[in-house]
Symmetry: C2
Subunit: 204 residues, 2 copies
């Protein structure tokens, strides 16, 4: 069975950078926005629409058990979201079938739970996240720190709701991961090298 | 300034083993039960009594700000506990003054916060913790898993209350640590080697 690393991450914590570095060091495939493109292709929906659904909160009153059973959906407003989640599950499973890989976000830790992925969660202090977001999005330069933080928190809330909705688990709670890494004072390159040592000590 | 690693840990998670391995690999001092002995010597109290105080919950209604200010205590029942905490702070600070070191438990992460320690929290699944406790305490062989887990949870609660009381922070919450490691499926030797690579990449 292929080896899999999944990465959950707070916005602005450097989770994508860590994922890319790990994939490069290990020589494994790396999947992030490719998942969104794949869903868009399969569902014939616009990529921007799929992205919006995946990064938006699902209807909160819907039972959280849907991720376990896929029973027929009675709320028509949920159909599209559920179809997208099902396609997401299929695509992530196909990716994991193809080769060893690193997958960022999209409930991959839960979708692939039977394959025993190594589950990482990446987080950082508010200030560190704001700074990283500023570097990545120069178009937001006019926003104050307070406005930036409000936007970041909104993404956090959506990710947490999405994760809870499909998995029944608390996003970012350490019990759902093998390791949680605070990148506030960390050098992500060193973290990636250390994780490779932990996961594949024979490579070092 | 000396380098410091602090380790918070759930009972039965292997935090002590990880701390010892780290200290050995780095050639640093390792402190755990030495702290209790030191307090007992300084306060002229029995070691067993100090251990009981340090591992017991403080009075829950007492203000949590005591760790910040050490104002005079009006509740006489709290005097002894507070004296012990003050001695604990002094001893931990002396240890950190002497050399690079790894310190397990006892709010060392908070006591030494101005020295920017690398803060680790170690945790594991209930079953894994029960198994580790069984190996370490053959005298508890007669206890059922349910009884073992009840005892483990009691220690967790005490550690969490003690930590909250003196630091105002939530014990085991990832935001209070640089890294949180789930040892359920981990080889602690590999984890220690990887952490050394992360902390002192030039040694590898």
């Amino acid at each position: 069975m292929n080896k899999i690393i999944t990465i959950g991450r707070e916005l602005g914590s450097g989770g994508r950078e860590l994922g890319k570095r790990l994939a490069d060091l290990l020589g494994w495939a790396y999947y992030d926005s490719e998942i969104i493109s794949g869903i868009a292709q399969k569902t014939e929906l616009a990529e921007s629409y799929v992205k919006q659904i995946v990064e938006r909160s699902p209807v909160a009153s819907f039972p959280i058990t849907i991720g376990h059973s896929f029973f027929p959906v009675v709320n028509p407003g949920m159909d599209q979201t559920t179809n997208i989640y099902i396609e997401q599950s299929n695509i992530i499973t196909e990716m994991a079938d193809m080769s060893n890989c690193v997958i960022v976000g999209r409930c991959a830790d839960y979708i692939l739970r039977d394959r025993n992925p190594f589950k990482i969660f990446v987080y950082a202090s508010p200030q560190s996240r704001i700074e990283r977001c500023r570097k990545k999005r120069p178009e937001d330069a006019a926003l104050s720190d307070r406005q930036m933080w409000r936007n970041i928190r909104r993404v956090d809330r959506h990710r947490a709701k999405y994760y809870m909705f499909y998995t029944g688990l608390k996003w970012g709670h350490k019990n759902n991961y093998d390791i949680c890494i605070n990148t506030t004072n960390a050098d992500i390159k060193s973290v990636a090298e250390a994780l490779v040592k932990m996961l594949a000590p024979e490579q070092n």
